[in-house]
């Protein structure tokens, strides 16, 4: 029932093609940086990353040995040697105007009675009926094909020398408590808002919905002042609290919506059986709410891990407090041209969210569908 028979094949083609184009368009920027992170600085600066995927042709010239190296074989004089240490050449030539004029193995007349041949492995042989003269050997142009060459050097360097290893640990230190704490606080609040009767409940729910969209820019200056005033200053404690607070509205909103949908009978019968609210919460609500808890945990994890603004405001700029987004930002500012450093750093910083993303995509989608009123 999908389409009318005649147009179907053409439409399927168009759909497939459009989808391929969009997927390529969406992945290619990331892919480009990923490829670059495995190339060294010279390679990045001299050619586009797309060249790195294929064998590249490089043209170079070498000098054959001079007349000193000639040996006599019968009535011909011969100079022989090897121009390449390793690799293969795809073509060669004897003038800079046509550096790739001949195929390997071809025998070429150079001048009066001299003949030159270069083999694929780089060995050459010049023969002449007369004695060679002159100390400088002949120039031979070689076109070699260099196979794709990738290195892990950049990663090694950024983790050890550029302080990214340290930043990785700092990011972990920020992210894990900032994900765990709001879940706990929000779960209790959500339970109260979903299953307890008390005056003002509707207003509180409305407040939470309202707070979902409060731009955190509004909070920055007052909280910076507040943290200084109460002696928290710039440190992990402050950023944990800040992230907890910024994540709470979404956590409460998501969890409450989920808990409201839990079967009423289970909770009622537990109450009748004399379970305390705390027991109901711990034995029934928490286990049943696992999908919602997981959704929020992923959200909060991604958001905290990827955050730059809150970290720059509430954490210091010293080595032992700088998170990965902060390091990236500094690298972009001070070493904007060092693409090998930037690319490797960026990939280390996005690797963890990407792993989480692909492993838990199901929960992320579910959370998005349930809570699509918050934005960043």
């Amino acid at each position: 029932m999908d389409n009318i028979a005649g147009t179907r094949a053409r439409l399927t083609w168009a759909v497939n093609l459009t989808a391929i184009c969009l997927v390529v368009l969406w992945t290619i920027p990331t892919f480009g940086l990923l490829v670059s992170s495995f190339r060294n600085a010279d390679q990045i600066a001299s050619s586009g990353w797309w060249d790195a995927l294929f064998a590249t042709q490089s043209v170079d010239y070498k000098r054959a040995e001079g007349a000193d190296a000639q040996v006599r074989e019968g009535d011909t004089y011969v100079i022989a040697g090897d121009l390449l240490q390793d690799g293969k050449l795809s073509s060669w030539g004897i003038s800079s105007r046509a550096p790739a004029a001949y195929q390997p193995g071809e025998v070429v007349d150079v001048d009066e009675g001299q003949q030159l041949t270069v083999q694929e492995d780089g060995s050459y042989r010049i023969t002449s009926s007369n004695r060679f003269e002159g100390r400088r050997g002949m120039r031979i142009f070689l076109t070699t094909s260099v196979p794709p060459d990738f290195t892990l050097e950049n990663y090694d360097r950024v983790v050890t020398a550029e302080g990214l290893g340290r930043a990785f640990l700092n990011t972990m230190t920020v992210t894990i408590p900032a994900t765990v704490i709001p879940i706990l606080v929000a779960a209790f609040a959500a339970y109260a808002l979903a299953w307890m009767q008390f005056p003002g409940r509707a207003i509180l729910v409305a407040c939470v919905v309202g707070l979902l969209v409060v731009p955190l820019q509004v909070s920055l200056i007052p909280l910076l002042k507040l943290h200084n005033a109460i002696g928290l200053g710039k440190g992990y404690m402050g950023i944990w609290l800040a992230h907890t607070a910024f994540g709470l509205p979404l956590a409460i909103y998501l969890l409450r919506n989920y808990m409201v949908g839990l079967p009423k009978e289970v909770i009622e019968s537990a109450r009748v059986d004399g379970a305390t609210e705390f027991q109901i919460f711990r034995r029934i609500i928490l286990p049943l709410s696992f999908p919602a808890l997981a959704s929020f945990a992923i959200f909060q994890f991604l958001w905290v891990w990827n955050d730059l603004l809150v970290a720059t405001v509430f954490l210091g700029n010293s080595q032992d407090q700088l998170v990965m987004t902060g390091v990236l930002r500094e690298l972009l500012g001070s070493r904007g041209g060092d693409w090998e450093i930037l690319a490797a750093s960026a990939f280390i910083s996005i690797s963890v969210p990407l792993i989480v993303f692909f492993a838990m995509q199901k929960y992320l989608v579910r959370g998005l569908l349930a809570g699509s009123v918050k934005g960043g």
Binding site: W50, A206, G210, V218, P222, L308, F357
Partner: protein, 331 residues
């Protein structure tokens, strides 16, 4: 290592404190008003009056301190001078009205508000529709959804590389310039092109947000009842009509939600501009402008707060709309 012990310790202490609070306060409440004995009925009633606030307490405290109080404090600060010492009335706002950089930020933000939500929603809808029946559709969706997991800063690095510029005599290593010169034009420094550079920054956010729009809209498209679609096909609707006349009108509500959510993201957009141009070359936006005034050599918290409140005011209509919707759902 020390740091990890500190972090792990804090998690433990935090979790322990939370649990102690919830469990302990409930325990005290239950022993003060035991649900048995002569006054069981009255006791339960009283305990149930107090208990919600025990559960809500920590959340309300944190929300109050970190989100509600700051709004009030920002209003107060915006009416004071740089360090909050002296009352200046509306001076900060008058300054805003006359500042060319502020005007630039507002105009840019409005441009972002028009372009980013519309294109993200458009691409999201497109992808949602065309991948729906594809055999490799879920792979395609994953790929387009992926940028959601990448930080704005990471995205900044990725796209700065795409926009990279080399002199005309060198080989271009940025994809865009490589294509551009491949078509026979001169290479461009995309991020400094007046006016157009804004759109190159917007592309980054569209790239990130399309996945979000796609996920939500794809669920909405699946939720459309088969009957209306079947009926339309029987009536001879072609695929275009089916999509624009039957499907889209049925998911207007969801499109609105997607649109407003992305609008909020756009209003707060900071990292992308911060790391890619830092507001130079005519690309300033409100959030970055505010950061500027907060952290420049001598911070001016009065002006910074005033800018933050402008963002807040722009968000306000959406906030009210959300609350209305939520209340309607609750009733």
């Amino acid at each position: 290592m020390e740091q990890f012990i500190y972090a792990a310790g804090t998690i433990l202490v935090g979790v322990f404190a939370c649990v102690t609070w919830f469990w302990g306060s409930n325990f005290i409440l239950d022993s003060m008003y035991p649900a048995r004995g002569a006054h069981a009925g009255r006791n339960i009633k009283r305990a149930n009056l107090i208990r919600p606030w025990l559960f809500l307490g920590p959340a309300l405290l944190i929300l109050g301190t970190y989100l509600v109080y700051p709004v009030a404090d920002s209003i107060w600060r915006s009416l004071h001078d740089a360090d909050g010492a002296e009352w200046v009335g509306m001076a900060n706002y008058r300054w805003l009205a006359s500042d060319p950089k502020f005007r630039e930020s507002i105009l840019n933000n409005l441009m972002w508000l028009v372009v980013v939500p519309s294109l993200s929603t458009f691409f999201g809808l497109l992808v949602a529709q065309i991948t729906d029946r594809l055999r490799w559709g879920s792979f395609a969706k994953s790929m387009i959804f992926m940028p959601m997991a990448i930080s704005f800063v990471g995205a900044g690095v990725i796209w700065k590389f795409v926009y990279d510029y080399r002199g005309a005599d060198q080989e271009q290593i940025g994809l865009l310039n490589a294509l551009w010169t491949g078509m026979g034009f001169d290479p461009q420094t995309w991020l400094t092109l007046p006016f157009w550079n804004n759109f190159f920054l917007m592309a980054v956010l569209i790239w990130i947000q399309t996945g979000f729009a796609m996920v939500i809209l794809s669920a909405a498209l699946r939720g459309i009842s088969e009957e209306t679609i079947e009926a339309a096909i029987l009536d001879g609707a072609n695929p275009w009509q089916l999509f624009f006349r039957i499907k889209v009108p049925q998911i207007w509500g969801t499109i609105a939600v997607v649109w407003t959510t992305i609008t909020i993201v756009v209003l707060k957009v900071f990292d992308i501009v911060f790391v890619m141009t830092n507001g130079q070359w005519g690309t300033q936006v409100l959030a970055n402008f505010m950061y500027d005034w907060m952290f420049r050599g001598s911070p001016d918290y009065g002006r910074g707060s005033a800018i933050a409140l402008v963002i807040m005011i722009l968000v306000l209509p959406i906030m009210i709309w959300n609350i209305r919707n939520a209340r309607r759902e609750m009733n």
